[in-house]
Symmetry: C2
Subunit: 617 residues, 2 copies
């Protein structure tokens, strides 16, 4: 009989219950433990724990896990109870749990307005409702009681399969002025099989870690002198960037988009006009002019600049759509999390575009952009599905409701006509317009948000954009924001892991490697001839004529994940034929065939030009 | 008999004497005039004058010029005299010349160390020598006496030909806290003929003013909200940028340069290491992170970043030269002078490259770069000459003298082997190495500094760059900086004026315009067919099917300086032949020939691909 898949909220309760079970086990092992908060996170749970001088390490995991298994085996019920807030505080004092006491005191003082200081997960463990707090709830499993909103599973036996993953430092309530606690992470799934799939995926993900591959394949580097979150791209990494960007651009140029160019800084006046200054002013990089009194900022987006080009001339209804395309770098002053990687950077290159169109042109424009995004992801071999993000009935949205209704309908039509897999979600629109978000699934099953197409009814109004309509009156255009990769850097982090560095020929920084069997002048000359011919065909080729064994040189080409390698010596010079070694993921059969040199190079060049996706990832 | 050309110092004396004559005339017309300084500048002279409430306007120029001509006609001698400094001060007081008095007092107080507060021209009017001031010199022409170092021409009759050009506000000693004076500018040449040539050139230059053409041809715009010195490029201007940049890059990619990518900001640590922070720290745009304590700056150059890519791996003598290429924008916190133009901007895009090579590779590398620069300027039709800038015998230079001697010899060899017109200048090298500066002459005879190739012995040392040499020891590479256009923006300002906006086909934002003779469906359909076919061939084509007369549409294409225009109607549809209208500067003969449509489009596409320079500027 097939297993019933568990519901999301049931899985949530399992994971949350495991956080309690882990705390129970820790309390058994270290009775002096002080507990912070223990929420559910993606794929699992954590608990923040303070053991004073004692520090839990990964070596302690087996004994914690064993104790957790014992608690699970006992199948103790989760029992809910309530206490008035003052009694709850007394309980925390008596239990020697100062963090819980602090939370309860805050809760008493501020009711749920405390929400602003805590993230949603942390809050979830405290209280419910949004009125003045009277009672707070507790959950008890065996000898462990915790302040908690619940819900939990019925008993400790019903928590599925779990594994402790890591322990990290975490400041109490995220504030570095507070004591540092230890955050114990675990993953959990409803079944052992699901857990196994997840753990296997993590092993595979680690092998493909783009930070590791970025170094091994010499794609990008960081420098302490330049700073964190600011990658520098080597020649090989730059090939990858440029080929992807050119393709992303070309797909839109086919639909009439034209490149423009804007500077990376602006007076803050531009964002005062757009409204971003009021909203995001404290998240921007401020630029200080020492020579003038200008107050400048680095651009965190491109749209306000692009409106200035639109507005530089009078526009007629016949001129529309006007379509600007620009791949340019924006800067966002983020606390850089994951160091050394491209997932989160401060220099964010966007393959951005903005179309200004009439309302009756929305569907066609969206249709074009969806076709471009669809072709992009089909070409690189990632499955896409899209979310249609609509407004809800609240008044959080700007722009006329009829305009929204018409626009949402046009979005959906375009999605359907492009045959895209989609789902609809009300209340997910931006306040300025409905949008389409693209999710791409990578080779190991992870889903990443990538492209986006967004309608915007607000910015044209703020910047007083207009065109003369066919009846001579002035009307406001609609703006359509689109990025196909989104952030090029973040996309690369996804794509490098998707391919594990085994790029298709059109993207491979090195497409062909020529290995000389010896260092005879005739061999070297022939290798150079091959290189020259390949370069003429626009191929990226490297000759390895180092004084190493052929075996070692082949191994080196394999490590560099070069799609095609040819070994040249006396025989190849005489026959002008080669036996190309094909990178394993691309080979249809496990045999090597002899082919004329010219034919081989021509085939590779055509494969690159046609952006063939031969690789099976 | 041919005129003897005047020497540079003689022309200087003429212009300086004209400044005195202008002051003399102004004193005759406005006896209350207070005088500041009156130096020689390029092509002429100026004098700063304070008339209190009265303001001189261009309407006053005829009477000032008439008075100057009278003084010239009188041929009064310039008489030199000297006074002890205290008597000179008394003279200034008695004459009611407070600005002169201030200069003399400063001079007395500080000797010539005052030089630091004044620019060289201003100082030139005051005193000579660098010891303690005793006497200061005066020059007198007629009833006007001025504190002045001289030299002057013998008498007022010997000043050649002049014309007053404009009057502008100027703060006393360039400080906005000081009183605002009026600066009267004039141009002057040894002969009336030379003056006429210069004035004609100015008329022509005005017609070609790139700010005017930038607007007329819709190439770039400025926005008050974005800020001065920060141009935004429209689709048409971006075509121009991209085509030029791609060509500049391609020429170096042919010699093995590879593109890299760096962010626009960096921690200031990078410039502390390079030494730039100490030298130029107060000229940088500082970037303030609100989220972290990082001290960041916008990059004003790319080389330090590029060294970080070089240094990210061990390098062997066999890997060299390593050649990085990147067109990227640097930001310099300049007081923006000429508003609305590209000559002086704060966002400066450089077509930059850096080669890291062994000492024995310098000549070949330089040779390659010179060939690239030579081809670039030959293709766009500007004459080049180069300055070889060497060190002198002073100790102002870093790096071993043998290295300098060898490098300078290699530079010269490369210049000679490229058949470039050159001159040599000692003492013009950078402190870090010798260089080659390229000067290009535009269509109306103005010379502009453009490309540069610079050797650098210092930065590799500061950044501890190294490679393993063939004997296994670690050695330091030499770095070669090169930019072919230099600043893309500044280059565009020169190039737009050079061509007067009549771009060759490969650079024309719009290469072909199709004009429909009427709005019949068949005509419009044919125009669209032509457009589709042209786009397939990679041409930039625009269809004008507006409801205007053919004459008006042709005029509009002429104003847009489109290289080729074709008119299509019934006849063209039937014959599939067209009679292309060729932009006048490109036409070999003043006749129009009938040609097959396909042949026409193919010819234009080939012309663009081959970067043919047909235009006679």
């Amino acid at each position: 009989m097939a297993e019933q898949p568990v519901q999301a909220d049931q899985l949530h309760a399992m994971r949350h219950s495991l956080a309690h079970i882990m705390a129970t086990a820790v309390q058994h092992l270290w009775p002096e433990a002080k507990f912070g908060v223990g929420p559910v996170v993606e794929n699992g749970f954590y608990y923040d724990i303070d053991l004073g001088e004692t520090k839990i390490s990964e070596e302690d995991f087996p004994k914690i896990e064993a104790e957790m298994q014992a608690i699970i085996k006992s199948n103790l019920p989760f029992e809910r109870s309530e206490l008035p807030i003052d009694q709850a505080i007394a309980w925390a004092q008596a239990a020697g749990q100062p963090y819980k006491e602090e939370l309860l005191n805050d809760l008493k003082r501020a009711g749920t307005t405390i929400a602003k200081d805590l993230n949603a997960d942390e809050l979830g463990t405290i209280a419910e409702g949004d009125a003045q707090i009277e009672n707070v709830s507790f959950y008890k499993d065996g000898d462990f009681t915790d302040l908690c909103r619940g819900p939990h599973v019925e008993s400790t036996g019903k928590v599925g399969a779990f594994k402790l993953m890591r322990v990290a430092g975490a400041y109490w309530r995220g504030n570095e002025k507070n004591p540092q606690m230890q955050r114990l992470y675990g993953v959990a799934f409803a079944t052992a099989k699901e857990l196994r799939v997840h753990l296997d995926m993590l092993v595979e993900a680690k092998k493909r870690d783009h930070r590791k591959l970025g170094q091994e394949l010499d794609l990008f580097v960081f420098s302490d002198m330049v700073g964190s979150g600011l990658p520098l791209f080597t020649p090989r990494g730059t090939v990858l960037r440029e080929e992807l960007v050119n393709f992303s651009n070309q797909l839109r140029q086919n639909y009439g988009f034209e490149k423009v160019w804007i500077p990376h800084i602006t007076k803050k006046d531009l964002y005062e006009a757009s409204g971003h200054w009021a909203k995001f002013g404290d998240e921007l990089f401020l630029v200080k002019s020492q020579e003038t009194s200008d107050e400048l900022v680095m651009k965190p987006m491109n749209c306000p600049h692009h409106t200035r080009i639109y507005a530089s001339q009078p526009r007629s209804y016949r001129d529309l759509p006007i379509r600007y395309l620009e791949t340019t770098t924006v800067y966002r002053d983020e606390k850089t999390g994951e160091l050394g990687g491209l997932s989160r950077v401060r220099s964010i290159t966007q393959d951005d575009s903005h179309a200004f169109c009439r309302q009756d042109q929305i569907e066609q424009e969206i249709d074009n952009l969806l076709a471009a995004a669809h072709e992009f992801y089909a070409t690189i071999g990632m499955d896409l599905r899209v979310r249609l993000s609509y407004r809800d009935e609240s008044d959080a949205y700007l722009g006329a409701p009829e305009l929204w209704a018409s626009a949402q309908e046009q979005l959906k039509k375009a999605v359907v006509s492009n045959g895209l897999s989609y789902f609809e979600q009300e209340g997910e629109a931006a306040f300025y317009g409905p949008k389409i978000d693209f999710m791409a699934t990578d080779a190991i099953g992870r889903e990443h948000q990538v492209a986006t197409v967004q309608l915007d009814f607000v910015m044209p109004e703020r910047f007083e954009l207009e065109y003369v309509s066919d009846d001579g009156t002035k009307k406001q255009p609609v703006m359509i924001h689109c990025a196909i990769m989104g952030s090029v850097e973040r996309f690369l982090s996804v794509y490098i892991e998707h391919t594990a560095g085994k790029f298709p020929v059109w993207l491979a920084p090195e497409q062909v490697r020529v290995i000389s069997v010896n260092q005879e002048p005739a061999t070297l000359e022939f290798a150079t001839q091959v290189q020259t011919r390949a370069s003429e065909l626009g191929l990226r080729i490297v000759v390895d004529n180092s004084n190493e064994s052929v075996g070692k040189k082949i191994r080196s080409a394999e490590l560099a994940k070069v799609p095609y390698t040819i070994v040249v010596g006396e025989k190849e010079i005489a026959s002008r034929e080669v036996v190309p070694r094909i990178r394993k993921d691309m080979a249809v059969m496990d045999v090597q065939l002899t082919v004329g040199l010219e034919q081989f190079l021509g085939t590779v060049a055509n494969e690159a030009k046609a952006r063939v996706l031969k690789t099976s990832l």
